[in-house]
Symmetry: C2
Subunit: 342 residues, 2 copies
């Protein structure tokens, strides 16, 4: 049977801000799965800040490689339904996650380790879960938030934790996990709407970093300093954190979205790391796969009880994926940014 | 009895390079110890890179405060002999260490905690030790080297460790401890003489960072990358380390001597901390006093057996202390820089 599907390809690496013009959406023939493979019809695909780092020839060492030009984008998470299976353990109708997103149909090899294991083809139990949760709180986003707090020993509670980009996919989960772990949480975001959501729905102290300066906000909300900073922003946010961290403070370094489209500058006050015995701990969710089961167990309970809220910004149709990415990097989305496909 | 002694005072905070002109040496009356106090005649006093950070009005938060102008410099290590004691536990003739260096006579209060405890008045057992060792391998220098390797888990051995400023007081001890712990050690320093000493006397691979570029040196000597970087330099050295660290690598951040006399710039490649799961661990010796006994036990054995060599650059007479500091920061001294007093 001949199937036709659409896929997004990178036309050129953007310089500065991402634009939908940097991508093209093309129609391709979808081949049948070979023995051992599975054909999936994607229903949701993920839009992550990390994709921006892969849209450049000088992707940082140790990170996932750059997307090649003019090809389907491998290594982007998706959730979908098996439509044809030549692999044992997978049958038509199964809900699965995998790493061949940004396309309508994917032929997936279950044996292939993707995104450090996070993206390897996995059958999902959606009985009490929204399918899209597996791209958010029950997937890589939940793992990243949980692992970040874990690696800086912030799950024991009793501390003051600042989370930046706190209305984002990972940030909003880090806020909620840190709070449920017994910490005092301070959240920052870039619009009054996001701040209102953080205060009113997630119940934490929050400020709009675009309104006034970071130091003044932190002084006002945390006059006794902070113990942990969960960093997805870098740049001026990281500098402000170094200034405000207490002795033996820790930074969970998750990303640096403020610098993905410009020439990065390091924090000028890095010596405070020495003078205050600070620890800067870089980490990636995919390097902490051993925490996935723990995280999912906690998170499933929290989602069912309503203790964790999963907010999404959904774009409709595969063609909107490039717009969704641009909107997310510009800070115009809240929670997990997703594309719903057909 | 009226005693007269000399002391060094800061006349002005240097801008850029330290000069002896920034100090003055004055003669003062030495008062008798009050009840509970001890009078010490200093015989050795310490010259540390950290002093430079205290010669400025904007000393970094969390660090020891700036030296006040026109006063004796409290908080600099010295070794000396008790000449008069009104405190129990101390008698004339005792060898002691304390934190009132850069002067000939010091009236010390044994109850006062100095330099986080490292500088509190302590009676020394010099039976098998050189007195000056207590300002080097058996004192704060040894503690800093040992603690730095400890906090980044580099005492277990089996890794590749790069130590910068490796011919310095802390660096040369870090090199030797890291090697004795079973690591492969790469040492860098700023002159061919220092490199020859590191190779021939300490038996490690070494390069002169002033001869060629850091990346080329590191590629040549550690083509498989490094696991740990012991940083006393900051700046371009820290950037090169981030580039060359393997996944899950660690940096023991001890200081940043390349930036003490200029406007610091942060590492532009800090995102590698995220992409390679790196840990940057700032630390101070004085924050790790709980490791002092362990360190001294190991170090005493190593010094006696000759497995650790303690090299010093000695300046004669209190008046030379400012010169000694300038020479050390400029990289013209090897090992621990000391001033011998009278």
């Amino acid at each position: 049977m001949t199937r036709v599907g659409r896929e997004v390809r990178v036309r050129r690496y953007p310089v500065g801000e991402v634009s939908p013009e940097d991508f093209e959406v093309v129609e391709v023939d979808v081949r049948d799965p070979a023995p051992g493979q599975v054909l999936v019809r994607n229903t949701w695909t993920s839009v992550d800040p990390g994709l921006r780092i892969r849209l450049r020839t000088d992707a940082p060492a140790g990170y996932f490689v750059a997307f090649p030009l003019g090809q389907a984008m491998d290594g982007v998470m998706a959730v979908g339904e098996v439509v044809d299976s030549c692999a044992s353990g997978f049958a038509p109708g199964d809900l699965v996650s995998h790493a061949q997103g940004w396309r309508e149909f994917a032929v997936v090899d279950p044996g292939e380790v993707q995104l450090g294991g996070v993206g390897t083809l996995t059958r999902l139990d959606a009985e009490d879960a929204e399918p899209s949760w597996f791209l958010g709180p029950l997937g890589g986003m939940g793992l990243t938030a949980y692992a970040g707090l874990h690696v800086v020993d912030a799950l024991k509670g009793g501390e003051t934790v600042w989370v930046s980009a706190a209305a984002g996919a990972v940030g909003s989960l880090a806020v909620q996990i840190a709070k449920l772990s017994g910490n005092r949480v301070i959240a920052s975001a870039g619009s009054d709407d996001k701040v209102a959501w953080l205060r009113d729905e997630l119940g934490v102290e929050a400020f709009n970093y675009r309104d006034g300066d970071l130091a003044a906000h932190l002084n006002a909300v945390a006059p006794d300093g902070i113990d942990v900073y969960f960093d997805s922003v870098g740049g001026d946010h990281l500098e402000a954190a170094l200034d405000h961290l207490n002795r033996s403070g820790r930074v969970a370094m998750c990303g640096s979205i403020s610098e993905y489209e410009s020439e990065p500058k390091g924090p000028r006050n890095l010596f405070l790391t020495v003078s205050k015995d600070l620890t800067l701990r870089g980490f990636r969710g995919s390097s902490n796969l051993h925490l996935m089961a723990d995280m999912q167990r906690h998170m499933t309970g929290w989602l069912r009880s309503g203790e964790v809220v999963s907010r999404t910004t959904v774009f409709e149709g595969l063609d909107t994926a490039p717009q969704a990415l641009a909107a997310m990097i510009a800070g115009r989305t809240t929670g997990k940014t997703l594309v719903s496909i057909g």
